[in-house]
Every structure is written in structure tokens, then in C-alpha cells.
């Protein structure tokens, strides 16, 4: 019984480690692509206002997409990966 509880705790920890590592990788990817979208805004050349707003919108959308993905992943972890089958 006690051995099973210990196993459950280790399983929980490792599952959450996996979630954090996935979130970290997705964060780096999101940051990379949003930076690519936003960087031209800060160059010395002045692009048109519409293009600038569009680039900013794309950058913010990528980060928002990351947050939504992260939330959906957490739901999968909460209801599918972490609980025991009997739950």
C-alpha cells in the first residue's frame, strides 16, 4: 500500500516535470517566432503603420497561442495523465 503511494508520488512528480519541460520548449519556440515578427518594428527603417500594427498583433497572438496550448495541456494532465484509471 505504502509502496504504491510512493510510486504515485513519483509518477506525479515526473508527469509534472514533463509538463514543465514541454511548456519550456513551447515558450522558447513561441518567443523565437514572436521575436521574428516583432523585430522589424525596432529596426531603423520606418515601415508603414499598418504593417507595424500587424507585426505586433502577430507577435502577441503567438504568445497568446502558447498560453492557450499550455492551458489545454494542463487539462489533459489533470483529467487524463495524472489520475489513476479507477478515478
Amino acid at each position: 500500500m505504502e509502496k504504491n503511494i510512493k510510486k504515485d508520488k513519483i509518477y506525479t512528480l515526473l508527469s509534472l516535470y514533463a509538463l514543465i519541460i514541454i511548456a519550456w520548449i513551447l515558450f522558447l519556440i513561441a518567443l523565437y517566432f514572436s521575436s521574428l515578427a516583432i523585430i522589424p518594428l525596432f529596426s531603423d527603417k520606418k515601415p508603414s503603420l499598418i504593417i507595424s500594427i500587424l507585426q505586433l498583433f502577430i507577435g502577441v497572438s503567438i504568445i497568446t497561442l502558447w498560453l492557450i496550448t499550455w492551458k489545454e495541456l494542463a487539462k489533459i494532465w489533470m483529467f487524463k495523465i495524472l489520475p489513476k484509471r479507477s478515478d
Binding site: I5, D8, Y17, F27, Y32, L36, F42, W70, M78, F79
Partner: protein, 328 residues
């Protein structure tokens, strides 16, 4: 430039001041009824709830002494002191009389103002893969946002005895390493002061707690981590170090569909039976870090805090990896 002697001396002062102030705060809390219920215990004891004042006092008094001898020349330290005072006052107001959640969020946006007014920032954050970017117009707005996010994030993880202090001890430990990598002595110094103060406070806050950190302490600690990120220019690595805490606050906010008080939520994320905490499987309950940890098996409060600490260890490790290998 700070000498090693000054750093050691101020850390000792900080540790002693915190230790001296804790019993005083306990007496003041009892005298004025500033007590919080320890909801995860069977007998629901009343605990003094403004313990964070001891941490703030230890850090700020020792920093003030150092600044006094340096004729208040360092604008970064001054910005940190003023921001910390604003965060503590907002937290204290919340501890005395609950503030409406939207007003509280607005007030936390003000914590970063001293950094903007004193110009204690560099608007060129260094991003992974890409390097330095120029954000001269947006950066001041990001400062305000960063303080609101980090202070509320720290506030939301302070749900179990020792959960805030233990996880943030690890995060501030990590910030010493990342600040060392970028060569920011100011950020290292502030981190060590906060660690000294939190080490003095920990025996009183760990399970079973004799004193709570309170909103005054949690908002201060959250604001301090944002200050360090801005001073050292380690913004990205600190976001990574804070991932379990950000995850927790983001899930809560998105589950609540807006800014609401935690006490007003009908579908509780956890259940407590015989001092054991177990996740609720109600689909409408907010997904919190404690709920995720207890989804497989029920755990004692101190066991959950131990797992939160281990998660913080991983995120801090990832932040250091990012700082060393990906940020040039």
C-alpha cells in the same frame, strides 16, 4: 561597487532584523486581530497573517544602511526600495481589508512606477537565439505589467504553509546564478538579502505555520523578483524560473474567467479529509498547481510543498540552461 564585506555585513544585519521583528509582528497581529485561518488543518487554527512585514523590514533596513553610506547614489537600489514599499502597502491594505480584485490588479500595476521615474532600467532585453532587442517605447509598459504579474503570481502560490517561501528561496538562489552570469552585482546583492531574510522567516512559516507571509509579504517577494529581472536584464530566464508559479496563476485566472476573489468560487479545486488534501474532479473547478499535484493521490500539506519545491528546482535549472546556452 559593493565589497564582499559590505554584502556579508548587510546579510547578517538583514537576518537579525527579520528574527527580531517576527515576535513583534506576532504580538501586533494578535492585538489588532490581523489573523488568518489555516484552512488546511483539522482544528482550523488562527495564525498571525502579516509576517511578511518582518521580511520586508529585514531587507529594506539593511539595504537602506548600505545606501546611506553610499550617499543614495544607486538609482537601481532606490527604485527597488520604493517599489518594495508600494507593494508592501498594497499587500497590507489587502490584509487589513480585502480589496476588490480588479482594483488590486490595477494597484499592482503601480509597483513598477519608481523604476520608470528613476530610469532604473535598460530597454534592451536580451532574447534567446536573437540577442539584444531595442524596446525603448514598449519597455516601460512591460515594466508595469511585469510587476503586476509577478506580484500576483507570488500571491497566488502562497496557499500552503511554506509554499511561497520555499519555492522562492530556490528561485532567488537561481537568480543569484543568472545574475552572476550577466555580472550584475546589484541583483546578486538584493537576492542574497531576500534569501537571508527568508531563511530567518522559514522556521516560523514551515508546516505547521506559526505565522503567515500575508499579502504584504507575497506582493513584496513577487515585486522583488521583477526588480531583479529588470536590474540584471535576465527577464526571459526569470520567466522560465517562475513557470510553475505562472502556470498556477494563469490556470486560476483562466478558470475564473476574469479577476475574482478566490473566496467567491463555488467549485473548490481541492477537498480536505483528515488533514489530507485531494484534488476535486469537478470539471468547473479551477486547475491549480495543488490540484494537479494531488490528482493521483491525496497528500499531506508538507508533501505538496515538497513537490512544489522540486518543480521550482527544475524550472530554475531550465532558466540557468537558457541563460547560459541560449541568451547571448
Amino acid at each position: 561597487m559593493l565589497s564582499i564585506k559590505e554584502i556579508i555585513f548587510s546579510n547578517i544585519i538583514c537576518f537579525i532584523i527579520t528574527l527580531i521583528i517576527i515576535p513583534l509582528i506576532m504580538k501586533i497581529s494578535k492585538k489588532y486581530g490581523l489573523m488568518g485561518i489555516d484552512v488546511h488543518k483539522k482544528n482550523k487554527p488562527l495564525i498571525p497573517k502579516i509576517g511578511g512585514i518582518a521580511i520586508v523590514s529585514g531587507v529594506l533596513i539593511s539595504l537602506f544602511i548600505i545606501e546611506f553610506f553610499n550617499n543614495f547614489k544607486n538609482s537601481k537600489f532606490l527604485a527597488f526600495i520604493f517599489s518594495s514599499i508600494i507593494a508592501t502597502i498594497i499587500g497590507l491594505l489587502e490584509d487589513i481589508k480585502e480589496i476588490e480584485p480588479r482594483l488590486k490588479t490595477f494597484l499592482t500595476l503601480l509597483i513598477g512606477i519608481p523604476f520608470i521615474f528613476l530610469g532604473a532600467y535598460t530597454p534592451y532585453p536580451i532574447l534567446p537565439f536573437i540577442g539584444k532587442v531595442r524596446l525603448t517605447i514598449i519597455y516601460p509598459f512591460l515594466i508595469l505589467l511585469a510587476f503586476a504579474v509577478t506580484s500576483n503570481t507570488a500571491n497566488m502560490i502562497d496557499v500552503l504553509n511554506g509554499s511561497l517561501i520555499i519555492s522562492y528561496l530556490i528561485i532567488f538562489g537561481g537568480s543569484i546564478i543568472t545574475s552572476y552570469i550577466v555580472g550584475s552585482i546589484e541583483a546578486i546583492f538584493i537576492s542574497t538579502l531576500i534569501i537571508s531574510s527568508m531563511i530567518a522567516f522559514l522556521p516560523f512559516n514551515i508546516y505547521p505555520a506559526k505565522i503567515f507571509v500575508g499579502n504584504c509579504g507575497s506582493l513584496f517577494i513577487g515585486a522583488a523578483i521583477a526588480s531583479i529581472a529588470i536590474i540584471a536584464r535576465t527577464e526571459v530566464s526569470l520567466i522560465i524560473a517562475l513557470m510553475p508559479q505562472i502556470l498556477n496563476s494563469f490556470y486560476i485566472l483562466s478558470s475564473f474567467k476574469g479577476l475574482k476573489s478566490g473566496k467567491s468560487i463555488e467549485n473548490r479545486p481541492i477537498k480536505i479529509e483528515n488533514d489530507m488534501i485531494k484534488a476535486s474532479f469537478d470539471k468547473n473547478a479551477p486547475i491549480t498547481i495543488v490540484r494537479l499535484i494531488t490528482a493521483r493521490t491525496s497528500m499531506k500539506e508538507n508533501e505538496i510543498v515538497y513537490i512544489i519545491a522540486l518543480l521550482s528546482f527544475l524550472s530554475v535549472f531550465l532558466s540557468i540552461i537558457t541563460q547560459i546556452f541560449l541568451i547571448k
